[in-house]
Symmetry: C2
Subunit: 227 residues, 2 copies
């Protein structure tokens, strides 16, 4: 069996944008943590009022979604057997490459610290020739190619209904990257929709990113007779 | 199909114990948050050095495990269809009852605040006649009865290997509560082992609590033709 390849798309993981770096909620949190404001992660649970002024605010400042989804993915038997690749493509156009042996911190506050280091330095550990995590500005079609995939299969509530099993089989047989929205609600951007070669819906309602990821992964585990 | 009933057992969710409430790491964190030390949640990511002196420290101070597992469970299609009950039984002997419509905070720091309120007040919202969350001191066999189950099926690495599907079918057919360890490593206590009517292993290595929960839930979703 080939590897299951999943990308969390338009994920709300970014450093505080300059336009709100002077807002009291941003300045206060950054000072307490001893970091410059633009070296701290945007987080709606801390920066709610500052974020009222920014564009697409419902998609942004949600590192918690990526955190839970990566914990689910990297701890899976599928990943431990070397049969999973998981990528993140952020709202602001960065691709995050994750080595499968990466041990994501269980604690959220440590995870945000790790993401800050990654986005400031570009790599974790910084300067490593074989980093566990790497972030690069990259358009989505380029990430699809970098992942060694032949196309992008998008999961989107509005598309044609298909079983999880069919989606996973199709992705495995055709070396497709499966794209899952990394935002809490709302639709993909036009750019993401245009990058998709296939589009399916697996359920009648929207599901949280980590639930979708775990269903894809557990289906691949069944197909590979792992669990 | 009957409901799938899961309990997270010996979960590391407790208030800071009196014996370490004077430790600098405890006092500092409590002061910053404006709470008495014994009204704050024990958390190894904050209280590591204080916890060096307490018993069974590897099982304790891990609310993050319960957080991720509850996010996985309560957001599942199985729960949204009314076919899941999830319970927590803590290291210090409290049963936590969770209404299936509870929206667990996505943010970890808000989740720990919620758990503090629950453990201090006994209910969330406090004083509500129909609370979303309720905590009661209760031995494990009493929780099994309170969950309306006829027995406890424990998942434990050392027990006889069985497929996830067989475990779920057996639990559904016999109205068993499935117990999953809520601690990062180590074994169940003697008391938990004695409360178990059945014991199986679903994988060759230990798995994180949320991975086990999501595999049980996704299997029940397949059986119920939900996903």
């Amino acid at each position: 069996m080939g590897k299951l390849k999943i990308a969390i798309l338009e994920a709300g993981v970014e450093l505080v944008p300059k336009e709100i770096s002077n807002h009291p909620s941003v300045v206060k949190n950054a000072a307490r943590r001893g970091k410059p404001p633009t070296h701290t992660l945007l987080d709606v649970s801390i920066h709610y009022s500052a974020m009222l002024r920014i564009r697409d605010r419902f998609k942004r400042g949600r590192p918690d979604i990526v955190h839970v989804t990566l914990l689910e993915a990297l701890e899976s038997p599928l990943n431990k057997k070397g049969l999973l690749e998981i990528y993140v493509h952020t709202y602001d156009g960065k691709a995050i490459f994750i080595h499968p042996s990466t041990r994501i911190p269980r604690n959220y506050n440590r995870f945000t610290g790790l993401m800050e280091q990654l986005l400031v330095e570009g790599k974790v550990p910084p300067g490593s020739p074989e980093p566990l995590l790497q972030a690069k500005s990259m358009r989505l079609p380029d990430l699809v190619r970098a992942a060694g995939a032949r196309g992008l299969l998008l999961l989107r509530e509005e598309c044609e209904r298909e079983s999880v099993r069919s989606v996973v089989v199709k992705a495995l047989n055709n070396a497709l990257l499966i794209g899952v929205g990394g935002f809490p609600h709302g639709d993909f951007s036009q750019e993401t929709l245009e990058a998709a070669d296939y589009c399916y819906s697996i359920y009648e309602e929207s599901l949280m990113t980590w639930v979708v990821a775990s269903r894809l992964i557990s289906t691949a585990e069944l197909l590979a007779n792992i669990l």
